[in-house]
């Protein structure tokens, strides 16, 4: 493999090599960002269809038409698949991981630039395959984003043939892409650090991207095996997950959640990392407990491998597994509680400027706490058995994944946009975007906690037949109005994102007075990031150090010679 160190130093001249099949990690990061934001349009549109159907099931959906039960299943499957695998992962890992790791550790590019290019084009192919699967005869996959067997295994249950096979293929390509990406992240951060950039000087977002990459790399294998078995069941006549042929559908659930739960942390940790980068800069305070944060991240990564069966308390698995998995699940809330407390302690008493990125970071923190706390209800088998399969679960995981993906992601996007595109974004539009997103997001999902505790089942296309739910139908209507409000709230962002590229104010190299290495180069950085590889002398969060003239000290500033001055 050709490594970054051997590459030429000029940016390639041709348009194709420069912007399409580029090996520059910054270009690839932008490609991931555009891909994920485009896929978010599909994911968002399916969310609109779901919400409209739940609020007004008798009406035709504007812009679509009527929805039947099989259609509905396909739409929720696509919503989950697109949002988790083609929005959250490319956005938080693909875009930010690719952009930030080399810049923050002081490297010229990724360890394997061509592998990096390949991983983008593999995930691009995967999203094309998934999009095609929506239009094949028999319809798209309709077994949920978890693809539970035998629903996903035997076409007689859903009537879906090629849609499900293409779904498996799309996921396989997606996994392959992020495996390549993960190998690249890990090798880069281990081996390409600038002089002086010890592991204990890495910015937290780099630590978290790395933990996410390790967790992904080690958890996805069994699911790849499971996907092969599922595909063989569907095409070769085997019966790994089919009881009538001697198989066991529970095995699929185990293999899926052995990956599926760590996957939550694969998405959550980078989102947390972005918030943790933004907060000290706009509070002008160092991170509270940097090393504790690193150890919490590692602990969360390790524990994420032994909590998966809490998704399966009502699956019919051996009940003796329930208590150990409840205990580990409660245990994993400890490192996350530490992360949350550190964030609060970091901003506590700081001189806070409520810029758009800071608003998104704080909003993400506030909403994630709700998601985390409701998770404790679901992690304990006793309460989970009551709440499982209701809208409480839907509200809970949207309260964890939406804050990290969108609040975290937007915080990062507004924060690093000047570095990426060399221009500032409009603050007023940004703040409108934030308040719309924050208010309407909560307005969608707080009502869903309520309908969930009243027993409203999820994955049902038509709830009006349940008379006991009639008194709570108005909550579904509120949630749907809020969804429309949330989408309207994204318009200022689209205008801002595209408009600022052309009309935004030129960004200074370091517009936020931040310390980390990416601000030590130009905005946008040159082809190989740094004119000279920077030398690192300091921790990443030295803000408001007593006795300094400025309230920030970049990582590249040498320690002053110690002068033994006489004390007064």
């Amino acid at each position: 493999m050709e490594t970054a160190a051997e590459q030429h130093h000029e940016a390639p001249a041709g348009f194709v090599r420069r912007y399409i099949f580029s090996t520059d990690h910054k270009v690839i990061a932008k490609q991931y960002m555009i891909l994920s934001l485009t896929m978010a349009l599909i994911g968002g549109f399916t969310a609109y269809l779901i919400r409209w159907q739940l609020a007004w099931p008798e009406t035709d959906i504007p812009g679509w038409g009527p929805i039947g039960p099989d259609n509905y299943n396909a739409i929720i499957t696509m919503h989950g698949t697109v949002m988790v695998f083609f929005v959250a992962m490319p956005f938080l890992l693909g875009a930010f991981g690719n952009y930030l790791i080399p810049l923050m550790i002081g490297a010229r590019d990724m360890a394997f630039p061509r592998l990096n290019m390949m991983s983008f084009w593999t995930v691009f192919t995967a999203s094309v395959v998934l999009t095609i699967s929506m239009f094949v005869p028999g319809g798209p996959a309709a077994a949920g984003w978890t693809g539970y067997a035998p629903l996903s295994d035997n076409p007689i249950y859903t009537g879906v043939t090629w849609g499900q096979n293409l779904w498996i293929l799309a996921l396989a390509l997606e996994f392959g892409s992020f495996l390549m990406g993960g190998i690249n992240f890990l090798t880069t951060a281990l081996n390409m650090r600038a002089p002086g950039m010890t592991l204990w000087r890495l910015p937290l977002v780099v630590w978290m991207e790395l933990t996410a990459a390790v967790v992904f790399l080690l958890s996805v294998g069994p699911l790849i095996a499971g996907a092969l078995m599922l595909l063989a069941d569907r095409t070769l006549g085997t019966g790994f997950f089919r009881p009538d042929r001697g198989g066991d559908p529970l095995l699929w659930e185990h293999l899926f959640w052995f990956f599926g739960h760590p996957e939550v942390y694969v998405v959550a940790l980078p989102g947390f990392g972005i918030m943790l980068e933004v907060m000290p800069v706009f509070a002008r305070k160092p991170i509270f407990g940097y090393r504790t944060m690193v150890w919490s991240t590692i602990a969360a990564g390790l524990l994420s491998f032994i909590v998966w069966a809490h998704h399966m308390f009502v699956s019919g698995m051996d009940p003796r597994l329930a208590t150990p998995f409840s205990v580990t699940t409660i245990l994993i809330s400890v490192p996350f509680a530490l992360l949350v407390f550190s964030m609060i302690a970091t901003v506590w008493g700081g001189s806070i400027t409520l810029t758009t990125p800071m608003l998104f970071a704080l909003g993400g923190l506030a909403t994630f706490i709700i998601g985390g706390v409701t998770g404790i209800f679901l992690g304990s088998a006793t309460t989970d058995i009551f709440l499982h399969g209701t809208y409480f679960v839907v509200a809970h995981f949207h309260y964890t994944l939406f804050p990290v993906t969108f609040f975290g992601g937007f915080a990062g996007l507004y924060y690093w946009y000047p570095k990426m595109f060399g221009r500032m974004m409009n603050e007023t539009l940004g703040k409108i975007h934030f308040w719309f997103t924050f208010v309407f997001f909560n307005a969608i999902f707080i009502p869903l906690f309520a309908v969930g505790t009243h027993g409203s089942p999820r994955r049902i296309y038509e709830l009006s037949s349940y008379t006991y739910l009639q008194p709570f139908q108005y909550l579904h209507v509120i949630a749907t109005y809020a969804t429309i409000g949330l989408f309207i709230g994204q318009l200022p962002f689209i205008v801002n994102f595209i408009g600022s590229m052309v009309r935004g104010k030129r960004a200074a190299d370091n517009p936020w007075d931040a310390n980390t290495l990416e601000w030590a180069t130009t905005s946008p950085p040159p082809h190989e990031n740094f004119e000279h590889i920077p030398v690192v002398y300091r921790d990443p969060y030295e803000y408001s150090v007593p006795g300094e003239n400025e309230d920030w000290i970049p990582q590249t500033r040498p320690e002053p010679q110690i002068v033994y001055a006489a004390a007064d």
Binding site: D248, L250, H254
Partner: protein
């Protein structure tokens, strides 16, 4: 310089001889009339020794640093852990 390299080659060939002998031993255990359980224990014990030889000498783990060991063995532990947790659900249900 040249002679030390030749010695390495001889080592590699010796490892191969061991691998072939162990393969032969495994086949002996398989064909001889030994009770099933002890035979299986022997066969998998021999396989483990063969794998160790390949990992230690051909993949030269014995001269690698801790980092490579960590990368190599953490997944083995995880895969074993996964299989252990699956025992109650798969083995005891049928």
């Amino acid at each position: 310089m040249m002679s030390t390299i030749e010695n390495h080659d001889r080592e590699y060939i010796m490892i191969w001889v061991w691998l072939v002998l162990l393969l032969g031993a495994g086949m002996m255990v398989f064909t001889l009339p030994i009770a099933r359980m002890p035979a299986l224990a022997l066969i998998f014990g021999i396989a483990a020794v063969k794998a160790t030889l390949v990992l230690r000498d051909y993949m030269h783990l014995r001269s690698e640093r801790m980092l490579v060991y960590a990368i190599a063995f953490v997944p083995v532990i995880l895969a074993l852990g996964l299989a252990l947790v699956l025992i109650p659900d798969i083995v005891y249900r049928h």
